[in-house]
């Protein structure tokens, strides 16, 4: 069983600040983490490998420093890691990203055929949930998104059964390998890596691939050129035209403040008074 897991290194959003004057994101000094949603997929891949044998290859497309994120995956127990890094990928939107990653996976498959690909449900920076389906389409793999549980994998028959979250319930789906899975958050808990894996990660040399290594000969579908979407404007949300009516609090008890609020609210929105307590 050969499983490829796509992970992304993202800025730790809890620590991002916006520059108050220029309205730009201040990335400097912000620590990076593995996209939290990707860890559920990595853990599931590791479990399947432990169960069925084979190997897990982790890949990411990003700058050199993403090596750290890949090494972290090795320390969790992944077998191999590849960093896809090249100037031609700069400025990729989701369509161009899925092209680069799909090409890479196809190339990896030339050496050891790939049975499954795992992606995160979404990233916390791009947050589109598009890259997974994009890869599945390009590789003609069955696409299983929002998977809550992998019920069984039958390698001999090349079959897989999963529970997929859908609106109002869970679909139990059976499909054929190879397939692409995105795991739902909370579906498992990431393990602690063993001491051996920790040592291995410290010494592990991550392979670095450029577009040629990934088997891409024509770069028209890469980076900015291959990205249909264009970010035209980044801006802070405007305040509402009408300012909030502030309820005076000086010298008042909480109860007096509460009564003053209700009087103001119901004076302006009389219908609301009839709606409450229903």
């Amino acid at each position: 069983m050969h499983i490829v897991v796509c992970i992304k290194q993202v800025p730790d959003s809890a620590q991002i600040r916006v520059h108050p004057v220029t309205n730009t994101i201040m990335r400097q000094g912000v620590p990076t983490i593995i996209n939290p949603y990707d860890l559920f997929s990595l853990e599931e891949a590791l479990r399947l490998r432990d169960q069925l044998g084979g190997k897990v290859t982790v890949i990411t497309m990003g700058p050199k420093m993403a090596i750290e994120a890949l090494k972290k995956c090795i320390s969790y127990g992944a077998d191999d890691a590849i960093l896809l890094t090249d100037k031609v990928f700069a400025g990729s939107d989701t369509l161009a990203t899925s092209f680069a990653l799909a090409s890479t996976i196809a190339k990896i498959g030339e050496t050891t055929p790939v049975d499954m690909v795992f992606c995160g449900k979404q990233t916390i920076d791009g947050d589109t949930a598009q890259v997974g389906p994009g890869i599945a389409r390009r590789l003609h793999m069955q696409q299983l998104t929002y998977v809550a549980q992998v019920e069984k994998v039958d390698l001999d028959k090349g079959e897989i059964v999963v529970h997929r979250r859908s609106e109002g319930g869970v679909q139990v789906l059976a499909t054929k390998l190879p397939c692409l899975v995105t795991m739902l958050e909370g579906s498992n808990v990431m393990r602690y890596g063993s001491m051996d894996d920790l040592f291995r990660a410290a010494r592990y040399e991550v392979a670095e691939w450029d577009h040629k290594a990934a088997g891409i000969t024509v770069t028209a579908q890469c980076g900015l050129k291959g990205s249909p979407t264009v970010v035209k404007k980044v801006f802070a949300p405007p305040a509402r035209a009408v300012k909030a009516e502030m309820i005076k609090t000086e010298g008042k008890t909480p109860r007096e403040v509460a009564d003053a609020l209700l009087t103001s609210v119901f004076a302006k929105h009389p219908k609301l008074e009839m709606e409450i307590g229903q």
């Binding site: 598009q130 389409r137 609106e167 264009v230 980044v234 209700l262």
Partner: protein, 366 residues
């Protein structure tokens, strides 16, 4: 599958023409809304999108169409009728047993075929689990741009293109994204972000029917069973008329009871900001905001919530927003209707008490 479809399947990336290649984008005409029909029911986000699509279509001076895929059953016809009543001028319909339950492949193939045949300039889908699964696949087969989770859609007069605005990561920022050289321009919008349009009962329009080409034998994924959620699991939060929410400012999980008490007296539901659901104070499906639920209540009360953009985009559709925050400079006061600068731990119980008394007085008067 015909040879042509086969070809399209094998080389998905070549499907969409782009301006740079000398393709004529002006043949793409009209605004389409994907009507999400699953197990006999249409997701309300589809009607919300028809309401929004109407504004775009009017601005462009083009027709608005619903796109209905589903089984050969009365619910499918009903979905078409309702699409007209919520504003569609016409409906593109594709039905057959292969489309009975949602599966990525037959739906993606069907929609790809419809788009390539009838060429809409804009295609909107709900950002539900179904919509996101489908939109990501469809954008790839069409090789066009897709902007996810938009909070505002407009037409840029200069380029006649769709200006899709969405929150961007990390800070309090929004970004506007265009798809200039590819068609159709695709966007997903989460449920409750757009207002529900008025329904005009009995309004009808033209149905353009097109046959699905993918035979069941070609569909690799099979549905073994469906396990419906229990009622308890179906959080009604998104559709509640009154919502009270608490944030990290409440200090500790025990204090969350103050929020629940107030919600109970108001006859509403309760939720929280992301830190509060992440910390497990309340269940994850009660998170309000960009990565949680979007709500559109008549009344929203936020206590101890700072009002970060990811939270704001989830509540901006509320008619009245009351904010209680100890920091007079908290961003939540930038979009609240009424504000109280004070300690939520004191104000919340006082508010519950004051309302209880008013309700008791109302009852006594009846």
């Amino acid at each position: 599958m015909s040879a042509e479809d086969q070809d399209q399947e094998q080389t998905p990336v070549a499907a969409a023409p782009r301006r740079g290649d000398g393709a004529d984008l002006s043949v793409y005409h009209g605004v389409w809304v994907f009507v999400e029909l699953e197990r006999g029911k249409v997701h309300p986000v589809s009607w919300e999108l028809l309401g929004e699509g109407r504004k775009l279509a009017t601005h462009l001076g083009v027709p608005l169409s619903g796109v209905v895929l589903g089984p050969d059953q009365p619910a499918t016809q009903e979905a078409c009728d309702h699409a007209f009543e919520y504003g569609a001028d016409s409906v593109y319909l594709m039905r057959g047993p292969v489309l009975t339950d949602y599966r990525t492949d037959p739906y993606t193939a069907g929609l790809t075929d419809l788009v390539n045949t009838f060429k809409p300039e804009i295609m909107l889908l709900g950002a539900s689990t179904l919509g996101r699964d489908l939109a990501g696949a469809l954008a790839t087969t069409l090789a066009t741009g897709l902007t996810a989770d938009c909070t505002e859609l407009r037409i840029d007069d200069e380029t006649r293109s769709l200006a899709a605005t969405r929150p961007t990561f990390g800070g309090s920022l929004l970004c506007t994204i265009h798809t200039l050289e590819y068609r159709p321009q695709m966007a997903t919008v989460r449920p409750r972000v757009m207002a529900m349009p008025d329904r005009v009962p009995g309004k009808r329009g033209q149905i353009i029917e097109h046959q699905p080409k993918m035979p069941e034998e070609d569909v690799i994924t099979k549905i073994l069973s469906f396990i419906p959620d229990s009622d308890a699991e179906k959080a009604q939060l998104a559709y509640a008329d009154i919502v009270v929410a608490g944030g990290r400012g409440l200090g500790k999980p025990e204090n969350f009871k103050l929020v629940q008490d107030l919600a109970a007296v108001l006859g509403g539901d309760y939720g929280g900001s992301r830190p509060v659901t992440h910390a497990g104070w309340i269940s994850a499906d009660r998170q309000i905001g960009q990565t949680g639920k979007t709500i559109r209540p008549k009344l929203y009360i936020a206590a101890g919530i700072s009002g970060a953009i990811q939270h704001r985009v989830g509540v901006e559709g509320a008619d009245v927003i009351i904010a209680i925050n100890s920091d007079p400079n908290a961003p939540i006061f930038d979009f609240a209707t009424f504000g109280i600068v004070g300690d939520a731990l004191q104000i919340l119980p006082a508010l519950t008490e004051a309302l209880q008394e008013r309700l008791a007085a109302r009852k006594a008067a009846q």
